[in-house]
Amino acid sequence: MLASGIKVLFAGQNMQRLLGGFLVTLRVAIIVLILGGILGVLLGALRTLHNRPLRIILRIYLEIFRIVPTVVLLFVAYYILPQTFGLNLPGEEVAVLVFTLWTAAEMSDIVRGALESVPVHQKESGLAIGLTQAQLFRYVLIPQAIPVALPGTINLATRIIKTTSLLLMISVMDIVNVGQTLVEANGHKNPSAAFWIYGMMFILYYILCAPLSQWAKRVEKKRLERANG
């Protein structure tokens, strides 16, 4: 009977544990978004400069993080860092490191595209009033690039949130891992528990990601309206 499984959700500490796992998910996602975002903006700005070797290196970095599945990167870091470099980090920190590097790569591409979407005339008229390269970025290029980059960045945020489910793979107790544990512990006695536990996970992910996704759509629509006068 389907309804009986709902008891598992509220039995003992189960709900607290699920929400606790959700907090881990949220914490990792927020730290990654901030660190990866900052690094990505810097790398994206560097990729617009006329420095060929730098552009090529950053391009290769982006491609590696794009082509290799994130879970592989995660395993590589989790198992190889301690073995090869003697660096024993807790799983959550390894994940933050890997996800940050992945986010920075994706973010750098969003930022590069947004900066390059600013017309070259804007750059020249900034130079013509004597702005330095740094001032040009700060007062002219970045403010104009933000509305262009925002929808992609918000979508990236939802991807980060969803990607944190990989934390399960390296034994971090995120919401998926907690849920999995609960299902395994209760599943044989109460087969419908899985429906409610995974349902709860679905709802929590949904209330986090759906508004972001809507926001991205709205921002993009507003930007297009403005751009087309």
Partner: protein, 245 residues
């Protein structure tokens, strides 16, 4: 005759192996207005952009206010405060209000006080009949209004010379007059100006001298009236005949 402000000697510019400006020589005195004429592709835009460090050059020297320009980023950063430039596309910064567009240079480049720079900016706005537009944003303005403000933005740095690169070329016809009037007014107030334009009547009215460019070479450097009455080269004759004015 007034003091010499700009001297260009043996200037050469190439893109890869193709030379686009060949041995350019001319001098401009303080208060002089020079029209740079020529058909499209003659190199006039490239030349005027070279004078503001937006294009590099491969040979020759530029001397400004008695000092030889040693082309480097730092040199041009300093010189751009003294040589203003306005472009064809009226490129105000859309993220800033009209007033902030004008104040960006005076505040961030010249580090002047806000009160003084703002008073100055408002005076300049009033001089182009846009005193009430300080708080508007560029998207709320017509092309002509934007271009007048772009001129004010350049003037706000109090440059010693102004470069105009086809500033009326993308304006609707009814907007052209307002912009040209401002330039005429500047010329009357003894601003040194180099003007790339296709407005022949304006060039004839306002310019003291004409430099006629063809295929990256100055073919004529003449007093305006002489140039229009008796163009010496066949190229210039053909050019003038092809223009409607």
């Amino acid at each position: 005759m007034a003091e010499e402000l700009l001297r260009v000697e043996h200037l050469k510019k190439s893109y890869q192996s193709k030379e686009v400006l060949h041995d350019i020589n001319f001098a401009i005195h303080k208060g002089e207005v020079v029209a740079l004429l020529g058909s499209s592709g003659s190199g006039k835009s490239t030349l005027i952009r070279t004078l503001n460090g937006l294009e590099d050059y491969q040979g020759g020297t530029i001397t400004f206010a008695g000092e030889t320009v040693h082309p480097s980023k730092a040199t041009w950063l300093a010189l751009r405060q003294r040589i203003g430039m306005v472009f064809q596309s009226y490129d105000l910064f859309p993220n800033l209000s009209v007033l902030d567009n004008i104040l960006l240079g005076p505040l961030k480049v010249q580090h002047r006080s806000r009160a003084e720079a703002e008073e100055d900016a408002r005076k300049l706005l009033a001089s182009v009949n846009l005193a009430d537009y300080a708080d508007r944003y560029p998207r709320q303005l017509s092309g002509g209004q934007k271009q007048r403000i772009a001129i004010v933005r350049a003037l706000a740095l109090h440059p010693e010379m102004m470069l105009f690169d086809e500033v009326t070329a993308s304006l609707d016809p009814e907007m052209v007059r307002g912009v040209l009037d401002i330039m005429t007014d500047l010329a009357k107030r003894d601003m040194t100006m180099i003007v790339v334009t296709h407005e022949m009547n304006f060039a004839r009215e306002v310019a003291d001298r004409v430099l006629f460019l063809s295929d990256g070479e100055i073919l004529e450097d003449r007093q305006t009236a002489e140039f229009f009455a008796h163009p010496a080269t066949k190229r210039a004759q053909e050019f003038l005949a092809s223009m409607e004015f």
